[in-house]
Amino acid sequence: MASGEWCLIESDPGVFTDLINGFEANGVQVEEIFSLDDDSLQQMKPCHGLIFLFKWQETDASNENMVKDSRLDEIFFAKQVITNACATQAIVSVLLNCTHEDLKLGSTLSEFKEFAQAFDPQMRGLALSNSEKIRYVHNSFARQQLFEFDSRDEKKDEDAFHFIAYIPFKGRLYELDGLKEAPIDHGAIPTDTEWTDIARPIVRQRMEKYSEGEIHFSLMAVVSELRRKYERQLEQILADSALTDDERNDKTSHLSILIHEEERKRESYRIENLRRRHNWLPFIVEMLKAYATQGLLVPAVDKAVVAKEAEKKRETDKKRKRI
């Protein structure tokens, strides 16, 4: 891997959460949001940022509400310089703009923020792409490139993922799109309103637009670490003398389940990561040998070839009919 190169990583909440921890930031995790309508966002608050990812390179041309004033000095916005670094860029953008007490930014990101604060968005993007530490962590989640094999086609399919972050900042909602020149101001967040309630229609609009075009997208939320939240709640409940025993038991068992869920989640992220980084080549070879030994290999391969050819023929026929 050439120095300076950023590898493709999976867009997966486990990867992103571990990425954040890899940057030595603590106190937050990334969760995937499947629906804006239910109360999943509500349950996971406090939410520090939304990351909308979609499979498209085109960014809409509108430049409305672009921030042009001195707020540019305060909001950390970086232009996208390297496609593969997209995900990390979005996550870092959310983290560097977050002032919530739950988030402990850690030295790597704090130093980076200090360093890049004075730059313009272009230079910040460049600084990010040149940050050895950040890149190193990012690349540790890379898809395995086992064979000195530059699967650019894989990249072509995947690198069309684009990331847009939505953050609350000093009472207003902003959209951070690395392909644009500046943050977009979506207006003030009324007091006593959750910022996510304001973001919801805006994100939904995007979702609808992409659904129509059958464009894949995902929504992720950067939230305070859930397990810690549940543990705090558990403590409070145990200390609450106003509750009846029954009420207390109910709540504590409920929270215990949630805590257990979180532990299980973290464990599966860890295992997934192990699997991601493992060199599977000896295993695959052994497996192929075993298939061969049992005479399963040739029939299976032949069958697959026939199926593929039939599929191709169907496609060619379809094309011919169109012409």
């Binding site: 530059d150 650019r152 086609d153 070879v285 052994e286 298939y291 050819e309 191709k312």
Partner: protein, 407 residues
């Protein structure tokens, strides 16, 4: 201040060079120009990589997008025939070639376009440092001879001499190298990379005397024992790479048919083909092999049979990720095999195997020679056959020592 210029904010900058040009294709056994009006253009992405693309002008859709690295290719005119404006894009590191024919109404810019393509691809613009364009690279001997034929066009005898001296694989690549949908650059890869895809190039001979028309169709008949037909590269899921079965040359004595005035030269070509010795036991056209994802063969049914054998289980478990906290059990084995992470790697392995890349890597596993050979040729079926030939037999021979768990 902007180090990358205004274009960094977009996915790509405007084209650095573009001109009207058509592709050339292999369809079935026939090689002829793709008559569609196209545009060959070059742009530099915001990842600083150079993209050479071809798009269909009638519907404005870009069909091919190749990333090309410096010193990877040469772009040259292939014949001195004044009416044949055919150009070759040739890779240095292997025998891959692609052909185009100019569609610009006037010829006077052809040379300039050709030079620009070469210069830009071999010396991509680096922001802030200026372009440093040096002399064009020396011609490969083959190309020199092709281009240096006396008079216009190429003397058939000369052609056959040259072709006879070509390595059969090179020659097959000449016929069948493609500019498929997923053209992949080989800049970072050592060794050969065979490209697959649904289209291919013709030989360089152009005989049509009218300007701006496509070169005459040329045909090369080849016997193929492989029943595969042209197929599109697999583009599913997370591994979307081109098929890349190795092209193999074939022996053929059938005369060419269907070409116009080019038929004399083409029959010389086909007789040359007939004389070429082929080291392939199986004749195929490179575009005919569909790319199989080995994940598809790892069905539940197969897995159950496989894992029923305790011996197999043990061998496999030995290669699972080592971690004290993960129990090294059968359950874990099954889960690993079914995990998306594992499957993604199997897909990548499948593509690499079928692109002929894995031969050198697989040698270290002590696989039988013909399996390695098949791997070098990217032939999955031959690979499978070689493995079974070797392992199934030895398994059966050891049947008295059966460790099969049939309970």
């Amino acid at each position: 201040m902007s180090l990358f210029g205004g274009s960094a904010s977009q996915a790509r900058s405007r084209n650095l060079v573009e001109f009207k040009a058509g592709k050339m294709n292999l369809r079935g056994n026939m090689v002829y120009p793709d008559k569609r009006k196209g545009l060959l253009y070059l742009y530099q992405g915001n990842d600083m990589l150079m993209h050479l693309c071809w798009k269909d002008r009638s519907n404005n859709s870009t069909e091919d997008d190749l990333v090309i690295f410096p010193d990877e290719i040469e772009f040259k005119k292939v014949t001195q025939s004044t009416t044949g404006r055919v150009y070759i894009l040739k890779w240095r590191i292997n025998s891959r070639k692609l052909f185009f024919w100019m569609q610009e109404p006037k010829e006077d810019q052809d040379e300039e376009f050709c030079k620009k393509i070469n210069d830009l691809l071999n010396h991509p613009p680096t922001p802030g440092f200026g372009d440093d364009i040096s002399d064009t690279h020396p011609l490969q001997p083959f190309m020199e001879r092709m281009a240096g034929g006396a008079g216009s066009g190429i003397d058939p005898n000369d052609l056959s001499n040259v072709l006879r001296n070509l390595d059969p694989n090179d020659f097959a690549s000449l016929l069948s190298s493609s500019f498929g949908r997923s053209g992949r650059s080989t800049g970072l890869i050592q060794g050969t990379q065979h490209s697959g895809g649904s289209s291919s190039s013709s030989t360089q001979h152009v005989t049509d005397s009218r300007p701006n028309t496509a070169p005459a169709s040329t045909t090369v008949t080849s016997t193929t024992r492989n029943s595969g037909s042209s197929s599109k590269p697999r583009n599913g899921g997370t591994s979307s790479s081109s098929p890349a079965a190795a092209p193999k040359s074939t022996a053929s004595s059938t005369a060419s048919s269907g070409s116009k005035s080019g038929s004399i030269q083409m029959s010389a070509l086909t007789s040359v083909l007939a004389n070429l010795s082929s080291n392939a036991t199986e004749a195929t056209t490179s575009s005919s092999k569909p790319v199989i994802d080995l994940c598809d063969i790892m069905t539940n049914e197969n897995l159950v049979s496989l894992l029923a054998n305790k011996d197999v289980q043990e061998k496999l478990r030995a290669h699972l990720p080592e971690d004290n906290t993960i129990p090294n059990t059968e359950e874990e084995l099954k889960e690993s095999i079914q995990s998306p992470q594992f499957r993604q790697i199997v897909s990548a392995f499948s593509v690499a195997l079928q692109s002929g890349e894995l031969g050198p890597v697989l040698i270290q596993f002590g696989l039988p020679d013909d399996a390695i050979k098949a791997a070098n040729q990217g032939d999955l079926q031959a690979f499978a056959q070689a493995l079974e030939k070797h392992y199934k037999k030895s398994h059966e021979e050891k049947s008295s020592d059966n460790t099969m768990d049939t309970s």
